[in-house]
Structures are given as structure tokens and as C-alpha cells.
Symmetry: C2
Amino acid sequence: MTAQSRSTATIEEVARLAGVSRSTVSRVVNGSTAVSPEALESVRAAIDDLNYVPNRAARSLASSRTLAVAVIIPEDTHRFFGDPFFAAIVSGINATIASSPYVLTLFIASNDPGDKMVGYARSGSIDGAIVVSHHTSDTFVSAIASAVPVVYAGRPDHARPNDYYVDVDNAAGARDAVEYLIGQGRRRIATIAGPASMSAGVDRLAGYRAAMRSAGLPEVAVEDGDFTAEGGAAAMRRILEGKGKPDAVFIASDLMARGAMGVLQAARVRVPDDVAVVGFDDSQLATSVSPTLTTMRQPSFAQGQTMARVLLGLLEGDEPPHATILPTELIVRESA
Amino acid sequence: MTAQSRSTATIEEVARLAGVSRSTVSRVVNGSTAVSPEALESVRAAIDDLNYVPNRAARSLASSRTLAVAVIIPEDTHRFFGDPFFAAIVSGINATIASSPYVLTLFIASNDPGDKMVGYARSGSIDGAIVVSHHTSDTFVSAIASAVPVVYAGRPDHARPNDYYVDVDNAAGARDAVEYLIGQGRRRIATIAGPASMSAGVDRLAGYRAAMRSAGLPEVAVEDGDFTAEGGAAAMRRILEGKGKPDAVFIASDLMARGAMGVLQAARVRVPDDVAVVGFDDSQLATSVSPTLTTMRQPSFAQGQTMARVLLGLLEGDEPPHATILPTELIVRESA
DNA sequence: CTGAAAGCGCTAACAT
DNA sequence: ATGTTAGCGCTTTCAG
């Protein structure tokens, strides 16, 4: 049996059965108020009888809207599924879109030359998109943005004034984390930062610096850990080999923190007794390492929800804020 | 800026610029051979010039195919992202679809009353679907199946003769696992099974029984563990309290095996010295427990690829096999 | 409140 | 090899 053979009733047939015109059926389907109770009733009955579902292509062709939005993830599947950040974000997006008339399609870009996704966006298949990625600089993302309204997760690398994005307050989060360490009496606080090419990396480092500056404390050490466990370990090694022995380290991601804690353990540095450690993300990792990690929680689920809300607003013709910044929250555990 | 304002060129404009008819442009776009080199050239140039992308809705309306397939996951997002099985399956599907002309959209059914997804399938938005779920009995899945060709992951609960599915050889896998234990000299082999409501549970139990029977060994204990860690623990407790002290346990999932091993540990039963344990899945868990788990590996990525291939075949009008069964592989680690 | 009519952008016979 | 001609199923003015 082929797909073609499984045809549904058309609006024409519904109209005939209901004894009205196509227009009236269309009005009922689209919830127009200007329909008499009797017409409404008979149309509804006909729709039920025929099990009618409007053809999406025809509808979209006539109205030039699809009632579909896409989540676009320019990452390979491995990374997508391995990173809890994506899970939380997508769950949030999904939760919000599910209770709207829109349908959500998820697009993972792995192995995709880019053209297929861009073509999809430009072919009028979706009304809008949410782009979730660690590297928003992909050229094809801007090709999509020129075709449909786009909302980004996190501040885009080269954010333009009319971009829309939802970010967590990385700078404030980092500052709070460092201030917590200071409040604990720590004075020689180092940091392991994310890459300068990512806004989260930049902002978290800025937060660290702000906190240190306003407390009048010197920056003991600043090392780049590349947001990976290995990078975090290497950075920690460099810090230990340096002269400024720290009594605390603010580490810009849990993954890097795990790497760093391995190095501390190997060097027989006690956490938190000798060196306190604060991470960032509050991923599952935070509770699976030992000692458990004190870390800044990112509201990723809420971020997803918010992005969806912004996009839906955009599609309704509202004027949502271009930037929405969500607060973070310190989760205190054993490491600091 | 609204979506409507971002219009693309139409086939009409391309035709005019190229100095040919719409039909010729359509032929070029669709790769028909019956086009003269000159026409082909000028059409291509015009397409480039105008940055033309065919409108998907119009195309789909005229041809009644969408060049889109969906992966449908009737699970909540939490479960979807938490279970590595889905990650592997979806990656496999994605890998195969990516190198086809089809576009893949992922549909997670959480919070969905079902109607939206069914409507989507019935509205002619997709040419076919792959259903990946732990519980294939959802009624709305059959509603989808009546609208477009569907391929299932795993044998459906009440498989009908013209269903298409790709499964792993659960029975053979279980038998091999038990035979491995027998080969190790184990004689008093118990099993913790999955629920009788799931084909994987049924088939793995059948495999255990077949192996025991043909070795002439008695079934020491058969307990249901419900495919959860807690269920596995409870089942193990029941086994330990029973009279037939086992020297090995075949456990139908890694998750249950983890629960069971916790109980063994608490009861000071040494693994594998006192009791050997073999799991099923080869999930990440298998290497994160101690001792590491000997387990049957499921080829989930390949299963995804195969399902995609079957679906594409179906859409091409081929007649792929209704059932495809993939072999499993024993991964020997420390627990047996 | 309702119907008639004109497309939306494309494909697919059918001619030529 | 190419153009002409009907639609695909729906929305949307525009009359009435």
C-alpha cells in the first residue's frame, strides 16, 4: 500500500455532506465566529463522519503559514544526546509548544551539509525556528535566519541588534559563585575559564573578574579549559604548577570541574579543605563526582520554555524583547 | 518582520528569467533527463541568480508526497533523553536518512494528547514514519499507521502480518548468554525477566528457557524485574530468599542487573565468584557498575539504520521484508 | 452569515 | 525536448 492510496476526505466532501459551501467548512475549521449554530453543527458532524483532517500542504499553500516550528541543532547526534543541556532545553521548548497550535519538529544537523536544512527553512516548511547550539557562528544558521524568524539559545557570537535570544545570566552567575567563595573566607581564588570564542566562556570569566575586582582580590590564576574534562584537567595542572597556590577554584563548567578534581585528587590536594571548587551547570555530573560539586545551576528547561514563548510571540506579531536573561542559582554541595 | 514578507522566487520567475516554461524548470529541479543542455544551463543560472528554492507545500500538494519522514517517540522527554537506547536508534535513523533526499523530523509525544501527532500524520505532512517506543500498543500509533507506512522498532505487541519492524534477536541473545554461563560451568542458573507485556521481555525469557532445556538443566528461579533497577533488586531478593541457591543469574536488562548487583553486594555474595551475572543491552551502565557487567550488546545504531532503510524502501515501492532481526553480541567483562 | 471565484506554487499528463 | 493545461486542497476577498 502506498502513501497516496491512503487519502483522507477533502474539504469539498465535507461541504457536500454538510450541505454548505467550502468556505463555511473552512470557517468552522479555523474557528471563525461568523457561522450560524446550525451550520456549525452540521459541519462538525460531517467532519466527524468523514474523519476529516485538513491537508496541511494545501492549507499552507493558501495561507502561507505552516503552524510548524523547528528546533535546529547544528551538532552531531552523539553530542546532542550526550549533553544533558540539550535534553533540558528541548524538553522546555517541547513543553511550551505542545500547548500551542504549533507542531514541533526537531532537526539534528549531523552529517548534513547544511543545504538540506537551509532548504527546508527556505521552502516554507516552517514558520519559525529555535537554534540551539554551542557554536552559533555557522553560516547556514544565518541563512535560516534570513528565511524565518529565529530565536537563539544563548547570546549569538556576533549578535546583531535585531536578533532574538534567551540566555542565562552567565556573568552574574559567575560573580555570585566567586562571591560565595569569598564569603567562605577564600582569598586566593583561581578560575578555569571556557573558550573565548563562546559567549558563555567570555561572560563567566567576566563575572569572576568583576567579583575579584570589587573584593580587591588579585587574580591568582586564569586558565582556559575549553569546556572539556581533559581541558579542565590540563588547566588545573598548570594552576598547580604555577606559583600562586590557590585556596579555591571557580570552574566555568561541571565537565571541566570533573577533570580538575581528578588532578587535585591525584596531587593529594583535599577538596574542599585545601582547595574549594565551584562548578557551573549543575549537570548530573555534579552529584556523581566525589566530593559532590557545589555549582551554579542553569535554568535550561526554563530557557527552552522562554525561547518557545518568544518565538510564538514573534509569530503572533508581538514584539518580544530581543534579549531575555534568566537568573542562575547556586547549589551548595560538598566541594565548597 | 513576519514570515510572509520573506518570500522566495517562484518557479514562474525562474522560468521567465531563463526564457523557458515552468515545466522545463520543474524538470530541471526534479532531475529529469529530457532537457537540452542549453535549457539546463540557463535554468540553473536563473535558479542561482534568484536563489530559488521550491515551495514545499506547493510541491507536496501537486505531487502528494512530502519527502519528509518522521520519527515518532511516544515517550515523555525525560525518558527519551535519559535512555541511551533512543539516542543510538535515532542516531542510526538519522545517519541513513541524512544521505537520502528525505528530511527527518523528530516527534516526541510527551504531553501530547495524541491528536496532534495523528493529525500531523494524517494531514499529509509526512510520507512515512518510524515508531520508536517501549510500549507500541498506544492506540494512536495505529491511527498513524493507517495514514502512512510505518516501521516499528521492535516487534509490536500485537504484530499484524503486514506490519514492518526491525528487532534484535532477543531470544537468540538470551540463549547465547545462558549458554555462555553453562560453558563457564554454571549449573544453577536463575533469571530475572522483563515484563510479559513487552516482546523483549517475553523473547529473552524464552531464550533462557530454551538454553536451560536443551542443556537439561532445571530452572532454578524465574522472577519478573519489570525492566527497572528497583524491580531487579526486588527480584534478586526473592531469588536469594528462595530455596534454589543459584550460581549464576541471567538478567534481561542492564538496569535490572544493577539493582540486582546492589542486593548481591549487600548480601555479601561475591560476583562473579559466588554468583555470575550476565545482563542485556550493553548500555553505559555496564561499565559503570563494579564489577563491570558481562552483557549482550544490542545493535541499536544498526537497528536505526535498518529501520530507515526499510522505510525508504517502502516509500520507493519496494517490498522489504516485514521483519528484520538483528544479531546480538556477548560482551564479556568482569561479572561472568 | 454564506457562497462564488480567484488564486497559493507546483507537478504531470498531453500535445506538439 | 518543450510548452500548454489542468488541477492538488485549501484560504480569502468580495458580493450578496
